[in-house]
């Protein structure tokens, strides 16, 4: 079957969405962006393909979780990557300054890798949810834990072990490691004892999934290995993606890590006007990151804490440069953390409000996307301001809002493919992991 791939190369994460021929979302994939954008794009694409395969499998088998196959597949993927990590760790442990530690270091590394594998298998047996989808995060946590147990102040130190890991993980992330569906699914099936699942898996595995067209978007889109005509601006993709998720959308606000966008779209999801923040990062997700660091909090803790405020502080400046000093100053004067945070959230939303006003206001329905849309205090502050200034508006926030841009890109891919179908010359699609 034909499918369409959209990739959104963001500053912090890379997202991929696959659509089927009916334009329905078949799969989504996400990975952290890294220095090598094409690797990030490939991994996100692979993840989305896997997700798509599982979706197709789900159509055959119903609830897949009951079979234990998805967890088993994740385990196989993890082990595949861990195996590569083991090889690279060994190489790195014999190089440069690490080499001075000699065999003791290498021995400890092997012990750690073995322990990591054991830990993952145990988690699988206990049906424990993974803390993160990213190999890097999970491996780093385990490695650090076991390295700390084995580090030795006089001999092979914790730092020496970690230094090897830091070098190795970079190589693993950028390596061509096979985490694909077909590369791992059969082992996953065997691990859960095969059975009825095997037939369905075989069928799905043999169904060709042809990426008839793909489109890239996002901050790093110019660095995607795509021809020019397959690149679309994230403004257009966001507008179209939001339209697909909520067809009555007329205004989209996207607050990401690096920038804020206010977009107006028509009934067909076509952008009619947009505004982006200026070079100042105030009012973006990154600003909240600074604040979280300054307060020694996790990013996800900010919103709930701010929600507890009864008397929000009036914060006039959202200058990132002064954020830290202002915060300390206010804390020093005895103001409550939740009040300051509530004030800060409001201040950020004031910036968003001015962009919205520049772009043409807030029209019904209003769709909020981007990482900051997951912050409850930000959402409350925004809705309060919207209502004060524009009246009541229907607010849409999708749990998949992070994929808005990628979904829009996939839709553009589908449209351009369908257009070329009517044209005489057809540029062929590529078959991805059939």
């Amino acid at each position: 079957m034909n499918a369409y791939l959209g990739i959104d190369l963001g500053s912090t994460t890379t997202k991929a969405v696959i659509l089927d021929e009916a334009g329905e979302v078949l799969g989504r994939g996400i990975t952290n962006s890294r220095s090598n954008y094409s690797v990030a794009a490939r991994i996100a694409g692979t993840e989305a393909t896997i997700d798509a395969r599982f979706a197709l499998l789900g159509r055959e088998l119903g609830d897949l979780d009951q079979t234990g196959l998805p967890a088993s597949f994740r385990l196989e993927q993890y082990l595949t990557q861990l195996k590569l990590l083991g090889q690279i760790v060994e190489e790195e442990g014999s190089k440069g300054r690490s080499a001075t530690y000699g065999k003791p270091l290498l021995d400890k590394l092997v012990e750690i890798l073995v322990a990591m594998e054991g830990a993952e298998l145990e988690r699988f047996a206990r049906k424990e949810e993974a803390g993160s989808n990213f190999f890097r995060d999970r491996a780093a946590a385990d490695f650090a834990k076991f390295a700390e147990e084995r580090g030795d102040r006089k001999g092979v130190t914790f730092e020496a072990l970690l230094a090897v890991f830091d070098r190795a993980i970079l190589r693993v992330e950028n390596a061509d490691v096979d985490v694909s569906f077909e590369g791992n699914i059969l082992r996953a099936v065997e691990r859960i004892g095969g059975g009825d699942v095997r037939v369905a898996v075989q069928k799905i595995r043999d169904t060709p999934l042809v990426m008839a067209a793909s489109v890239g978007t996002g901050y790093g889109r110019a660095r995607l290995p795509f021809p020019r005509e397959q690149i679309r601006s994230e403004i257009l993709c966001h507008g179209l993606g939001a339209h697909a998720m909520f067809p009555e959308t007329r205004t989209v606000l996207d607050i990401g890590g690096q920038d804020t966008k206010a977009i107006q779209v028509d009934g067909a999801g076509i952008v009619t006007s947009f505004q982006m923040n200026d070079r100042c990062a105030a009012g973006c997700g990154r600003y909240l990151g600074y604040i979280a660091d300054e307060m020694n909090l996790g990013l996800h803790e900010l919103g709930p804490l701010a929600d507890q405020s009864k008397r929000p502080t009036r914060v006039n400046s959202t200058c990132t440069v002064f954020a830290g000093a202002e915060l300390r100053d206010r804390l020093g004067m005895g103001e409550k953390r939740e009040d300051i945070l509530a004030g800060l959230h409001r201040a950020i939303m004031l910036r968003a409000m001015s962009l919205l006003a520049r772009s043409g206001g807030v029209n019904d329905e209003f769709t909020f996307t981007g990482g900051v849309a997951r912050n409850s205090a930000a959402v409350h502050a925004l809705m309060e301001l919207v209502e004060e200034n524009y009246g009541k508006r229907i607010l849409n926030i999708s749990p998949n809002s992070i994929f808005t841009g990628a979904q829009g890109a996939a839709m553009f891919a589908q449209r351009s493919f369908e257009e070329t179908q009517h044209a005489p010359a057809v540029s062929g699609g590529a078959e991805v992991h059939a």
Binding site: S317, L350, R351, M353, S354, L385, N389
Partner: protein
């Protein structure tokens, strides 16, 4: 009336972004009208001569959230116009029949045209001040401009303004300026009796309340300052330069004072004392008003400095006139007039060995820690080592 009552009256007017006092005055008699004007200098006496209420528009300070105002201005433009627009688009200025935009800088100049686009049904006028100071050149130009304004104000109110009305209106403004100057002289001589935060709020109230009300309250304030003597403190005497357009938040003025400084001269609301001598109302008062401007204004960056050494001499002259010990350059961020002038003024201050500090603010600045530290250190240094 005692000091607390007067100050409470001033504060209430200062804080009131609904312009209740002006609206009340308008409601008292049918047909009354109010005309706003922006900083720095506008000939408000002509609005007054027409029997209309001149209303100084100084933005919303730190008292309103800017939501739509920011949609009109890029981040590198000062704060004043965004809060003026915010006041306007939220309907808070809808009681004004017209507005004057004087030639302060390009931002206020362009706002005059924006106003024409946003409020085509309202009267608005760009008031270009003369930058030539010869009677037969700049004097003729400015007289012509003022006469057009007189004509327009007559049209706005519905009947031409008579020469008598002009003489009376301009004469009233002579009295007003004289009273403001007395207040400033009183503060210069007895800053412990005339705290600047009080004086400032009193003058802010004066920008929006009817003429007689202000005159009464200002005179009453002067009287209580005479009576109710306070003990002077060992504070440093400073002048504050550069805050002539976008006004500093009250917190900034208080921070400077609480850090151990007496403000003995400043540029706040300088429009109400821009002319330094009375206008002769015995003959052609409009011509006299124009000619007074040519040669008798305070030195300010909105007027071309003819004296090549004028900028360099200015800080020293003002310092000596106010018997001050140091200067605080306090300008709004992105304020072209204040910030382009500042290096010349500072070079002059340095030439004379005058101590100074500098900072930037916005009308809605909410944090004063850095100002407190700088001003405190400055006043301590002046007290310990004197000026130099």
């Amino acid at each position: 009336m005692n000091r607390a009552e007067i100050v409470a009256w001033a504060e209430a007017n200062y804080l009131d972004l609904e312009f209740t006092a002006a609206r009340r005055w308008l409601a008292e008699e049918p047909g009354r009208k109010a005309v706003g004007f922006l900083p720095v200098y506008a000939p408000a006496e002509i609005i007054h001569a027409a029997g209309m209420l001149p209303v100084g528009i100084h933005g919303g300070g730190d008292r309103i959230d800017i939501i739509r105002g920011d949609a009109y201005y890029q981040s590198y433009i000062c704060h004043l116009p965004r809060s003026v627009v915010e006041l306007a688009v939220t309907g808070r200025l809808d009681f004004l029949t017209g507005a004057l935009f004087p030639s302060t800088c390009d931002v206020i100049r362009n706002l005059s045209g924006m106003w024409k686009v946003m409020y085509p049904e309202k009267y608005s006028r760009y008031v270009d001040l003369p930058q030539d100071f010869a009677k037969g050149v700049g004097g003729d130009f400015w007289t012509h401009e003022l006469r057009e304004l007189v004509h327009d104000m007559g049209e706005l109110r519905g009947s031409p303004i008579t020469e008598d009305e002009l003489r009376k209106g301009i004469g009233d403004w002579n009295r007003r300026r004289a009273l403001v100057r007395k207040l400033y002289a009183k503060r210069r001589d007895e800053p412990h009796n005339v705290p600047t935060d009080e004086l400032y709020q009193l003058l802010r109230a004066g920008e929006i309340v009817p003429f007689e009300e202000f005159m009464t309250m200002a005179q009453a304030y002067l009287d209580v300052c005479d009576k109710d003597g306070r003990r002077p403190r060992d504070n440093a005497r400073v002048i504050v330069i550069g805050a002539f357009c976008e006004q500093p938040p009250l917190g900034l003025i208080r921070t400077i004072e609480r850090a151990g400084c007496y403000i003995v001269d400043d540029d706040f609301l300088i429009g109400n004392r821009f002319l330094t001598r009375e206008v002769d109302c015995s003959g052609d008062a409009v011509r006299a008003l124009a000619e007074t401007f040519l040669n008798h204004t305070v030195a300010n960056p909105i007027v071309y400095e003819r004296d090549a050494d004028g900028k360099k001499k200015l800080v020293g002259e003002r310092l000596r006139a106010a018997r001050a010990e140091g200067a605080i350059f306090s300008a709004p961020s992105f304020c072209d007039p204040a910030l382009l002038d500042r290096p010349m003024l500072q070079a002059g201050a340095a030439r004379e060995g005058i101590s100074f500090i500098s900072f930037k603010y916005a009308e809605n600045t909410g944090q004063f820690q850095q100002f407190r530290e700088q001003a405190g250190t400055f006043s301590d240094a002046i007290k310990l080592w004197g000026n130099v």
